[in-house]
């Protein structure tokens, strides 16, 4: 276990690097996913088609293909950036489709009777939306969107594997390949790093899920 203790700083930096990617990815994909979800449930037909197309294409495309498109395709048309930026952008675009579906499942789970009851007691459209429909929809969306974000943290390892050099995966890569440490202890350390986030996050999400569950 020398390999881990001697390089604890290195691992810690990688861990923070992974967290940073995840944080930016979460902010970006939540914003983009919300916009796409708004399109998908809007009363305007072209916007709905746009949302559906976005989700269908991206959900059925491997993340790696999206990543390669950004990293190898964009420079061809004169868009140049760091692999880190390309990786992050691909992660945000890819995750946004799943965030959108999580949010939409929340909205779909609210029964039409809720909105009808709200209209029946004379609430306006805005009141219906902000006080009746969306609060219930958000609560139901928390578990699916939460697991999407956890999955995104795991996908950040793919960005690292692509050669970004600032996350946990890259730590494992450089310690085993460049510095010649044995793979077993180093990669165990890397795995522990990911589990330190995903296990508590999964447990926390489970607790939250029971807490926000609405009996319908």
């Amino acid at each position: 276990m020398d390999a881990i203790t001697a390089n604890l700083d290195f691992f810690w930096n990688g861990f923070l690097g992974s967290l940073t990617i995840c944080l930016w990815g979460a902010v970006g994909s939540l914003i983009l996913g919300t916009i796409i979800a708004t399109c998908r449930v809007s009363p305007v037909a072209p916007l709905r088609s746009f949302g559906t197309a976005w989700v269908t294409v991206i959900r059925n495309c491997p993340f790696t293909v999206v990543l390669f498109m950004f990293a190898f395709g964009l420079p061809e048309i004169g868009v140049n950036a760091d692999y880190y930026v390309f990786g992050l952008a691909a992660l945000i675009i890819y995750t946004s489709a799943f965030v959108c579906e999580g949010l939409r499942s929340g909205i779909n789970s609210v029964s039409a009777g809720q909105a009808e009851a709200a209209r029946a007691i004379g609430l306006t459209f805005t009141q219906t939306l902000t006080q009746i429909v969306l609060p219930q929809a958000f609560r139901t969306s928390i578990p699916p969107v939460g697991s999407v974000i956890i999955a995104m943290f795991k996908n950040s390892a793919v960005v690292g594997a692509f050669g970004v050099g600032r996350d946990l995966y890259s730590v494992g890569e450089s310690l085993t390949s460049a510095q010649g440490y044995a793979a077993l202890p180093v990669l165990t350390g890397v795995a522990i790093g990911y589990l330190m986030i995903t296990l508590p996050a999964g447990l926390g999400l489970g607790v939250l899920e029971r807490k926000v569950a609405i009996a319908r």
């Binding site: 009363p43 305007v44 495309c61 491997p62 293909v65 779909n108 429909v133 044995a182």
Partner: protein, 293 residues
């Protein structure tokens, strides 16, 4: 508009007019954005026949070669996916049943294993397999398809078998407890009741979730391209693009192939879901781990 009926009422004439106006504006904006992309592509000469010829024009000298290689890539991707799916289903069923049938203490290591592998990124399990197994003296180079394929399959299976175990468990839990009890009452052992009564129903209930997971496995085979392990579709495409210097064109074709395969599978999942008329309605279907690649 049944999918959004909770958000707004059936539109009247004014709302319809407004929606139509916004619709036109939205279409224009989307078209404009698309136009910008197309223009950018055109400005950079990305529509040149030299770049698209090898994939679209049958008379191009490279056309047969490119499609031959892509077909090889598809076969390689499907080989890896079928192997990983097969192993994941078999091992996953065993693990899932073990989690449900073992005693309290014997179950602990199974639960721990499931939680552990669920928390790891797939790319890490594949990388782990490809680096640690050779170090431990496991030599897979003699296996058909080469060691890369098997490292990929092992890594994919390690992650996906526990997901499938959880899907199967969720299916069994969703069945009414009377099913198991009736099995026991007619003299079946707990194992036989699981095998003959619970599992067949659980698999049917969970078929859509299982198909979604199969899509995830298929998508994840392309991680081999990032790790440079195995020449599946994406890596094959990448190698072609390096030679012909047309990454946008080749990657588009690769993406379309992936989307076609996965979209048909997703449609199959929806179709199965709508078609399955359950004779015994489940109490509740426990949430299945989100199918995020």
């Amino acid at each position: 508009m049944s999918n959004a009926s909770v958000l707004y009422d059936a539109p009247g004439p004014r709302a319809r007019r407004k929606a139509a106006i916004i619709g036109v504006i939205a279409t224009l904006v989307v078209l404009m954005l698309l136009g910008l992309v197309v223009r950018r592509l055109a400005d950079q000469g990305q529509f040149a026949g030299k770049l698209w010829g090898p994939v679209l024009d049958p008379s191009n000298e490279n056309f047969p070669l490119v499609w031959n290689l892509l077909a090889k890539g598809v076969v390689a991707t499907l080989t890896a996916a079928v192997l990983a799916i097969g192993f994941s289903l078999i091992i996953g069923s065993v693990v899932g049943v073990a989690r449900m049938m073992l005693g309290h203490w014997a179950r602990l290591p199974v639960v721990a294993g499931i939680e552990l592998f669920r928390g790891l990124p797939v790319v890490i399990t594949i990388y782990f397999a490809s680096r640690v197994l050779p170090e431990l003296g496991v030599d897979l180079s003699g296996m058909p398809g080469g060691s890369g394929l098997w490292f990929l399959v092992i890594g994919l299976t390690a992650y996906n078998c526990v997901i499938i175990a959880e899907i199967i468990r969720a299916g069994v839990v969703s069945l009414p407890s009377g099913q198991r009890e009736a099995g026991l009452a007619i003299g079946l052992s707990p194992g036989a009741s699981m095998r003959l009564i619970l599992l067949p129903q659980a698999i049917r209930v969970m078929l859509p979730a299982l198909i979604s997971q199969i899509v995830v496995i298929l998508k994840d085979t392309s991680l081999a391209a990032v790790l440079g392990l195995y020449t599946e579709l994406l890596r094959q495409g990448n190698l072609i693009a390096l030679n012909l210097d047309n990454p946008i064109q080749i990657l588009s074709v690769v993406a379309v192939i992936f989307i076609l395969i996965n979209y048909s599978l997703s449609r199959l999942a929806t179709w199965v879901d709508q078609r399955s008329v359950r004779k015994t309605p489940p109490k509740r279907v426990a949430p299945v781990p989100a199918e995020v690649g």
